[in-house]
């Protein structure tokens, strides 16, 4: 079971099962100190192992990062 922050990257690699979290890279389980959020995401990832029956399925987490994270994306690209 893969927990991903890069949907297009994941769709290319095609793991058996994936949960896509539309959060910045570095925050697949949410924000620091947000214990309930971290538990929600972890629990969904674990439970999806039984719910996904079609190989290669990517499920989209139904939560949004509260602000734009374009700046974080730019920072990660600068590392190349």
């Amino acid at each position: 079971m893969l927990v991903s922050t890069g949907r297009d990257l994941t769709s290319q690699v095609l793991p058996p099962r994936s949960l896509f979290v539309n959060f910045p890279m570095g925050n697949p389980f949410g924000a620091p100190g947000q214990i309930d959020q971290q538990h929600r995401i972890l629990r969904q990832a674990l439970e999806l192992t039984w719910e996904i029956t079609e190989p290669g399925t990517i499920v989209d987490l139904d939560e949004a990062w509260p602000v734009s994270f374009a700046e974080k994306v730019e920072k990660s690209l600068l590392a190349l």
Binding site: L2, D8, P24, F29, H39, T49, G56, K75, S76
Partner: protein
Amino acid sequence: MEPVRYVDLLNQRYQQQGFPPYEWTVNTDTPLTPPTKPLAECRVSMLTSGGVSHCSMPAWDAHARNDFRLDEVDPGAGAADFTVNDSYYDTTDASIDVNCVFPIDRLREQAAAGLIRSVAPRLWSGFMGRIYSRSKVVNESGPALFAELVSDEVDLFLLVPA
């Protein structure tokens, strides 16, 4: 916010730097093994490739390329005992709370709450940075890790790229 198009952005970045087009791994099919027992009866392990290292281990090279080091992580380790070194993403939040990328506390708590039977005797940190030697992953390091998971009687393996 729409999902970030990392493939396009990285292709542009590589092109700007004068590199030839990157040959991405694109798989067209994948196996899926149905679970054979309920989640509450499962032993769970987890891998981070986010440059997470326990304080007893050397820090990861944040700019690593083809680093095949693989750390065993004690699942009882405290979240505050880790450092995060990875130049390929913003590690600010992970450095404050490693559970953002490696929910080691949360996994223990889910075991205590009975969602899963247990956390495996070893968690894992590795495959970080840029890995260009795909054949080594497919033919050596991936199967080697799989053998360790079998040895630990792991039922479910969570993989978390940062």
